[in-house]
Amino acid sequence: MPIQPLLPAAAIAANMAELKPALRRQEALVEASRCLYCFDAPCIMACPAGIDIPAFIKKIAHGNPAAAAKSILSANILGASCARVCPTPVLCEGACVLEDRDEQPIQIGRLQRYATDYIAERDIKVFTPPAQTTGKRIAVIGAGPAGLACSAELAQLGHTVVVFEKQAQPGGLNTYGIAYYKMRPEISLAEAELVRSLGVELRCGITIGKDLTIAQLEKTFDAIFVGVGLGATNRLRIPGEELPEVVDALDFIDQIHTRPLDRVPVGRRVVVIGAGNTAIDAVTQSLRLGAEQATVVYRRSEGDMSAYDFEYQRAKCDGARFLFNVAPVEVCGSAGHVIGLRLVRTNAGADGRPEPIPGTETIEPCDLVLKAVGQEKQVVLLRRLFPALQIDAHGVIARDPLTGQTSVPHIFAGGDCANGGREVVNAVGEGKKAAHGLHAFLTRQTAAPPVQPSRLGAKTGPTGSGLLHPVRVHELEAALKK
């Protein structure tokens, strides 16, 4: 049976309501007042965009949310979307010192949203375009988070920037790939408009390599920033993968963002393959669209999951099933449609890789299989566009992590195509660093990392910002366990 939408619009709207609604004014003031205003705050160190978090929270507490928004957006032009999509429990909020005082950490994400919503709702402009332009022109390939962050920073440094995006709308995965209960696509599109308002030209629907060649870009631009992200979802390479109800999880999420919610087809019994954060988004949204059963299957163990623990807990609260140590061997079909997924139990082999256990095959009945097994690296595309570009063993662009400069001096890179796939806020940080790298390259100046206002007057160096060396809370926890 082909799959179809299952629930009426009102029911889906309720299911897809925002998980973390906006803070009301009083809530925001109370929450902001809890902040200790740490010096060299760990939350800043854990923020890959280096937002001066205590400074903006103080401004909210003192009744100046517009100034708070300026602090946020100056460090992270995608502050409104990061407020919603950042995995704050493993970033800023995970680093909050209040946890060590046996208290709930400050709800930094929600306060950031409060401030950025405040100016969006009132149409308050916090940036003025630079008075002078440098005359340097930069082409940015890809209007995802890395490209937008890089463009915004370059524009504020006085450069002329044109962004080329193959999709019809800018924002990349921020527009098309975020769980609907975390963020609406309008937020991402509004951020693209904010970048445009800084003087950046956004050209959507243009595929570099098809509509325009790199040679053409190099003729009219002084430098190029590559922020092309990752490619399609990896193939399963099992029989039955071509059946119509075997769908990329990202394509499934894309449909949620590009169609009315009650027109998104979903299976009654959904199986999601993979156990990363995209798998969580897929399984929870399947349930919220009306799936009667949704199951994550993962060939390794629970402890090996790459999904964040808080995401895993959320999926379990939504009623998702999890099957560990099972690998898909065949998508079973009947009359051209999916009827089940044949699984085999696995155990960890000598090298730690999961190995199938013969004779343990079972069939999990389902009518929709969502693939969330990671995205392909863009090796083929990158080699075609930039034959001279050095690509590392992981299939991503080799670059200086502090400047984004690649093996080709006038080409810079950042975001998923350079880091292999991380958070939106990592892409922002890399785009920003690359902008300073580009600025230094084009003006022959040295790149100077921005100074946080709350550290002014500090004697020691530019520590305290996660922009240069973000502290990852789960990495820290892993270090502590050793």
């Binding site: 003031l29 109370v30 007042s33 200790l36 205003y37 740490c38 010096f39 060299d40 705050a41 760990p42 160190m45 507490a61 680093a95 010192v97 209040l98 060590d100 005082r101 007057g457 004697k459 020691t460 520590t463 305290g464 060396h469 502290v471 820290l476 270090a479 502590l480």
Partner: protein, 438 residues
């Protein structure tokens, strides 16, 4: 259980907690509720010739989410007739014969004072409090703080009262003076039986920045108010101690000013007050707060082995001395308990920008501390340079964790030497001047 009963200049009360003269003691109804809740006494809202009040009478100082750390009012004395007030005092006394009811009075002429003292006495009041304190409204008419600010005038009017008074008289002092003991001594000279302090402090709590009018706003204008609430407690404690320590005052003290719980009350008593009065905290939370004051003070006295609250009176007073008597050689330094430190670095920036630059930021690796709460890789943590630490307390005050920064006494073997000793020894040529701090 310790005996909480008190005797202030002959006014007996089952406990030291009185409702201060103000909005909570405006009516007999409120006095009944106060006594039912457990208060030991009520000082009636000041009785005088009837006045007229304005709308919008109170304003507050908030601090972050904490409401009313300071409170301000421009309300005048009782707006009810003296007949009503004295009748209700009589009714309250009939029902609560063993609780203290004190009539607060504010009138102008000698004849009026004589009349009001007599009427209060006839109503059965246990004592009289002379309102020489209100710093708003009434002072413009030559009453309240206008009297309390001039010892000679206060002495004269207290003298009028003492001519007819047959029950104890308490003079309520205004803090809006340079030296509160001057008017306290005047009260003593005039024969008053006790003093109560402090009344409110002249204030403007805040300015509404849209219409550019301070709060509380009355039809586009405001007026100086009287400030009270938790924020004034340190000022009140200082003045209570000043009067308690002055032999020329030598009167029992009813302590007032920012008292909100048993600990506040105990501090006032330990500095020399016989009992205390509360207004703002009742306005904030109601009469019910007395339950915890009762239990808390009782438990505290028991824990100290004191059998009566009178044993606590003035216990901390002798330790307060002139600065010149303090030991210059006593040394202590800040020590950070890294098991408690959460890594906020507030101590660092406070010392660096606000004090004496004796705390460094080091990485946990440099300090050999390993990682842990507050210590993440590369993140600086505070380290006190004990040789430079002057022991000022600032870091321990800003630290958000209890007992994390410990001010630790250093035994340096040097004999005590106060500023006075130092001056004497310098004069005697026994020592060289101490080198100035670099």
């Amino acid at each position: 259980m310790a005996d909480l009963s008190t005797n202030l200049a002959g006014i007996k009360s089952p406990n030291p907690f009185w409702v201060a003269s103000g909005p909570p003691s405006n009516t007999g109804y409120q006095a009944h509720r106060a006594f039912e809740a457990g208060w030991g006494g009520v000082v009636w809202k000041t009785i005088g010739e009837p006045i007229v009040n304005v709308a919008s009478r109170y304003s507050a100082l908030n601090h972050g989410p904490a409401r009313i750390v300071g409170f301000n009012n421009i309300e005048l004395i009782s707006d009810r007739s003296p007949e009503t007030n004295f009748r209700e005092i009589a009714e309250v006394k009939r029902r609560w014969p063993h609780h203290a009811v004190i009539a607060s009075l504010m009138v102008e002429t000698r004849a009026q004072w004589h009349e009001f003292v007599r009427r209060a006495t006839d109503a059965g009041a246990d004592g009289i409090e002379l309102n020489f304190g209100c710093p708003h409204g009434m002072c413009e008419r030559g009453l309240g703080s206008a009297i309390g600010q001039q010892p000679a005038v206060a002495e004269k009017i207290t003298g009028w009262v003492m001519e007819t008074a047959t029950i104890p008289v308490i003079v309520k002092l205004t803090p809006n003076v340079t030296d509160i003991t001057a008017v306290a001594r005047a009260a003593r000279r005039a024969g008053a039986n006790a003093i109560s302090l402090i009344t409110t402090i002249t204030s403007i709590t805040n300015v509404n920045l849209d219409p550019f009018v301070p709060e509380p706003t009355v039809a586009g204008r405001s007026s100086h108010g009287g400030y009270c609430g938790p924020a004034v407690k340190p000022i009140a404690l200082n003045m209570v101690q000043s009067c308690a320590a002055d032999a020329a005052v030598g009167l029992p003290i009813s302590g007032i000013g920012g008292i909100a719980n048993w600990r506040d009350a105990a501090e006032f008593i330990a500095l020399g007050a016989t009992g205390i009065q509360v207004c703002t905290a009742i306005m904030h939370y109601g009469f019910r707060i007395v339950e915890d004051m009762h239990e808390g003070l009782s438990a505290y006295l028991d824990s100290k082995g004191m059998t009566s609250v009178t044993e606590l009176i003035g216990r901390a007073a002798p330790t307060l001395q002139k600065w010149e008597t303090l030991d210059l050689h006593w040394q202590r330094v800040a020590r950070i308990d890294y098991d408690k430190c959460i890594g906020c670095n507030l101590c660092y920036i406070a010392c660096e920008d606000g004090a004496h630059q004796c705390i460094d930021l080091k990485t946990p690796e440099e300090l050999g501390l390993g990682l842990g709460p507050g210590r993440v890789p590369h993140k600086p943590v505070p380290k006190v340079r004990e040789n430079d630490c002057v022991g000022c307390n600032l870091c321990s005050l800003v630290c958000p964790v209890d007992d994390c920064v410990k001010m630790t006494v250093i035994e340096n073997g040097r004999p005590p030497m106060s500023w006075s000793n130092y001056q004497e020894r310098l004069a005697a040529g026994e020592m060289q001047p101490i080198a100035p701090h670099p």
